[in-house]
């Protein structure tokens, strides 16, 4: 009964979003403000409605209503309550509902703002947000109903939205339980973060489309959505990092990123989103690249939908399962529809989107930002091709192929290196004009510093040429960023008579976007150090040990001590926990306890590494196998992952950087074209 009520509310939400779309269009066409207001209020209603629907689903999940198919698939009696709640996004239909719920929250937030000067955007923002929402809610209503219940009929046991004739409700005694891999805290937060990133990118897209339709193609839409974009980017980035951390902690392959199509699906909108974040600055400062920015935000939106499509349609496992999937082809049509309509709108407004100024120097900030965009788009091309190549191959030749890490690593590493280099150079170049001479003047000191760092690394750490080159670029970019920061603070110290720390603080406070950006660049460099460490210097070994025997790797000795296996019936898990002693050059460092957890309900195992983490490296030990009968021998796989911790430190600094950059600050709302064209003097001012 309560499940039927949940479905009813879902249907009402769907109808309300549809009403909102039509009322907004009708109100706009007939210049009927009351109608537009009605559309806005209808849109505001979607959030409470979807909250109610989701609340009902959570109620069913928490209270073991296994007659509901979704509840049966993702929960079991042994799961703690918090995991039953998070199981909401642990399966297909629940995660689609979660998507819609977040979308409605963001759409409501955006419509609650003051629209005084931008009232003409309102109906079209409502239309775009509600069309997107209607699509996702429609998926739930027509194809992936999270409230479908299991009935026993003469034909067997199946899930139905409405009770079929001559059937009885079937309630299994227990559920199948959430995939144990999804029970990790990282996985509890990772999908919401990613989805938050996904849905918040819909807002800048909605404004872009509103700008195109209304013909108000100045940079107002960009200014209105700048902070949204930054938050969207933050959520998406953090979602990606959390996913990486989760993979590192529970997937048991010693890494954080496997170039899996699902990972790439989330990475692609991040690439275009990051390119967009940079290129909108060119439009704001110089009135250029209006077409390009529109295209980027459209691409980001469609890649967000494409990402959800890739993970939800079954297309990744095979083109055939895609064809059989109910929602796959619909996603495909929706992506096609939005892409074609959006691009058609750009073409329609082509002339109005003409640049207000011209590029004046190949080394100007805007030119370097364009190069940055080219690199991001190139990485996107590699990723997109890597994801669809197996599908194309299967479709045209019938042969399935795998496009794995070697392809992506080979194709993207020079592009990433070039990006790191640009991060070092671009902040020093000026808007409008820069020359080799002006750049050289500010760069020579950091370059000398980077050369010294590289020489030290050559003698103390590595002789690999590629690694040294990468370390040089990273050192240069770090030094450039710190030097720039320091120059600003020193100037402020002189002019304002502040001490250096206050000068740093005030400098950041006065220009949050710029210095937040610098902190983000620094964090990227720390992440790059971590990635470089694990990619280039990772070591691994594997062996079967009897108690007291050791494996040696990179100066460490791992001595197997004991193993124990026991059941925890309350949690529905069997633990097999090994104990190993760790030594480095003969010195005892402590114990690690790699283990394997076996979940009875889902009959799946989870490999939990024992990890000793330092700034220098991680000693990461996996229990691969053991002898259950005698418990005399166990097989361990041991990784030494140098520098990987810098990746996680970098991500925390990144969070700080984005929060600084996105923090509201008083600023002039409009920069006139005249003011922009005056920015011709060589100056690194942002």
């Amino acid at each position: 009964m309560i499940a039927n009520f949940g479905f009813g509310v879902l249907v009402v939400s769907f109808l309300v979003t549809l009403y909102s779309v039509f009322a907004a269009i009708y109100g706009e066409r007939t210049k009927n403000a009351a109608m537009v207001e009605s559309a806005r209020r209808a849109m505001l209603l979607t959030w409470p409605l979807l909250t109610l629907t989701s609340g009902i689903l959570i109620y069913l999940l928490v209270n073991n209503h296994y007659e509901v198919q979704f509840v049966y698939e993702v929960t079991s009696r042994s799961m703690p309550t918090y995991l039953k709640i998070t199981a909401w996004w642990g399966g297909q239909s629940g995660s689609l509902l979660f998507w819609s719920w977040l979308m409605s929250a963001f759409a409501s937030l955006v419509t609650l703002r003051k629209w005084d000067r931008d009232r003409e955007f309102l109906p079209w923002v409502i239309v775009v947000a509600c069309v997107t929402m209607a699509f996702f809610i429609g998926m739930n209503v027509f194809f992936e109903n999270p409230f479908a219940q299991v009935y026993q009929t003469f034909e067997g046991i199946n899930a139905y939205t409405f009770q079929p004739a001559d059937s009885v409700l079937f309630t299994p005694a227990d559920g199948r339980g959430l995939n144990p891999l999804l029970r990790h805290p990282g996985m509890v937060i990772h999908p919401p973060m990613l989805y938050l990133g996904f849905v918040s990118f819909v807002i800048p897209y909605a404004f872009a489309i509103a700008a195109l339709i209304t013909g108000r193609t100045d940079d107002r839409w960009i200014r209105l959505t700048r902070r949204w974009t930054l938050w969207a980017w933050l959520f998406l980035s953090f979602g990606l990092v959390l996913g990486g951390r989760w993979a590192y902690d529970v997937l048991g392959w010693g890494g954080y990123w496997g170039w899996d199509p699902v990972e790439i699906a989330a990475f692609m909108p991040w690439l275009t989103g990051t390119a967009f974040l940079h290129s909108v600055m060119i439009q704001e400062k110089r009135g250029m690249l209006k077409h390009w920015n529109m295209l980027l935000v459209i691409l980001t939106y469609d890649l967000v939908i494409f990402g959800t499509f890739l993970t939800r349609s079954g297309v990744l496992s095979s083109v055939h399962s895609f064809a059989q999937s109910a929602i796959g082809p619909l996603f495909f049509v929706f992506i096609g529809f939005t892409l074609i309509t959006s691009v058609a709108l750009i073409i329609y407004r082509w002339k109005e989107l003409k640049s207000e100024t011209e590029m004046t120097s190949m080394l100007s900030r805007e030119a370097l930002f364009l190069l940055n965009n080219l690199l991001f788009m190139s990485i996107l091309v590699v990723c997109f091709w890597g994801v669809i190549y197996p599908l194309i191959s299967e479709l045209f030749t019938g042969a399935k192929v795998t496009v794995g890490p070697p392809f992506y690593e080979r194709a993207t590493s020079p592009l990433f290196a070039a990006l790191l280099f640009l991060m070092g150079v671009a902040p020093l170049s000026a808007w409008g004009h820069s020359t080799v001479k002006t750049l050289g003047r500010v760069m020579w000191k950091p370059i000398i510093g980077a050369v010294l760092v590289t020489i030290v690394l050559f003698f103390t750490y590595t002789q690999k040429v590629t690694a040294l080159l990468a370390f040089f670029i990273i050192a240069m970019t770090i030094l450039v960023t710190i030097y720039e920061y320091w120059r600003g603070a020193a100037a402020r110290q002189r002019s304002q008579g502040e001490n250096i720390l206050t000068a740093f603080w005030n400098l950041t406070g006065r220009n949050r976007r710029r210095y937040g950006g610098y902190i983000i660049h620094l964090s990227m460099m720390l992440m790059a150090v971590g990635i470089l460490g694990i990619e280039m210097f990772q070591k691994e070994t594997q062996g079967t040990l009897a108690a007291g025997q050791s494996l040696n790797i990179a100066g460490y000795e791992v001595r197997y001590k004991e193993i124990a296996s026991w059941d925890n019936p309350g949690a529905g898990v069997n633990y097999t926990r090994s104990v190993v002693d760790i030594y480095e050059d003969g010195e005892y460092l402590g114990q690690l306890t790699p283990r394997i957890d076996y979940y009875f309900d889902s009959q799946q195992t989870m490999t939990i590494p024992g990890n000793r983490s330092t700034l220098r490296d991680d000693l990461y030990i996996l229990l691969v196998d053991w002898e259950p009968a005698t418990a005399s021998g166990a097989t361990f796989k041991i990784y030494v992952n140098p520098l990987v911790n810098w990746l996680w430190f970098g991500s925390i600094l990144f969070l700080a950087g984005v929060i600084i950059a996105a923090w509201p600050e008083k600023e002039a709302d409009r920069v006139s074209v005249k003011a922009r064209s005056r920015v011709q003097q060589p100056s690194a001012a942002d």
Partner: protein, 173 residues
């Protein structure tokens, strides 16, 4: 006579010994050779690391996106055992990879076998992007150079003092 017999015996023994020695060496050599070939055919038991070095480059058709060296499933464990057996038989890395390709298709490899085809499209797309950007730069720079030339003709005085003076004069107007 005894001595002669003894001498004879010794001589015969020496003869026999002199025949026996090369024979024994021959036998030993043959045995050693056989042993070596036997050992080389079976080889010492390959280590987990040797197996993993090959397994790392393979993907089983079921466990998508999980390299064989870290895949925990039973099927993948059997594949690793097969690699170990084949390594023990003296097969090379390439032979073993080829065996899996023949059995299960090219999808077991971490990369499509036709590397040219897989890299061509992104390479061309990126190249087009570079050309497009270069062309855009060229178009942008042209008018700006003309503008710069025009500006140079009526260039304001280079001396900052005169510039300030001009500005002050403008303000007075």
């Amino acid at each position: 006579m005894v001595i002669d017999e003894e001498t004879m015996k010794v001589t015969q023994d020496t003869k026999i010994t002199s025949y026996k020695l090369p024979l024994a060496i021959l036998f030993a050599l043959t045995f050693a050779l056989a042993l070596v070939s036997l050992v080389s055919a079976q080889g010492p038991t390959p280590t987990d690391d040797e197996v993993n070095r090959i397994a790392k480059q393979l993907y089983c058709p079921v466990c998508e996106s999980t390299p064989l060296d870290v895949c925990p499933t039973e099927a993948c464990r059997q594949w690793r055992d097969l690699i170990r057996t084949k390594l023990g038989e003296g097969q090379s890395e390439e032979q073993i990879k080829q065996y899996f390709v023949t059995q299960y298709g090219a999808r077991v490899l971490a990369e499509p076998p036709n590397r040219f085809a897989s890299y061509l499209v992104p390479a061309v797309a990126i190249l087009l992007g570079v050309l497009f950007l270069a062309r855009a730069f060229q178009m942008w720079m042209k008018p700006s150079i003309t503008e710069a030339e025009a500006a140079a003709n009526e260039a304001p005085p280079a001396d900052p003092y005169i510039a300030r003076l001009e500005e002050e004069l403008k303000k007075q107007k």
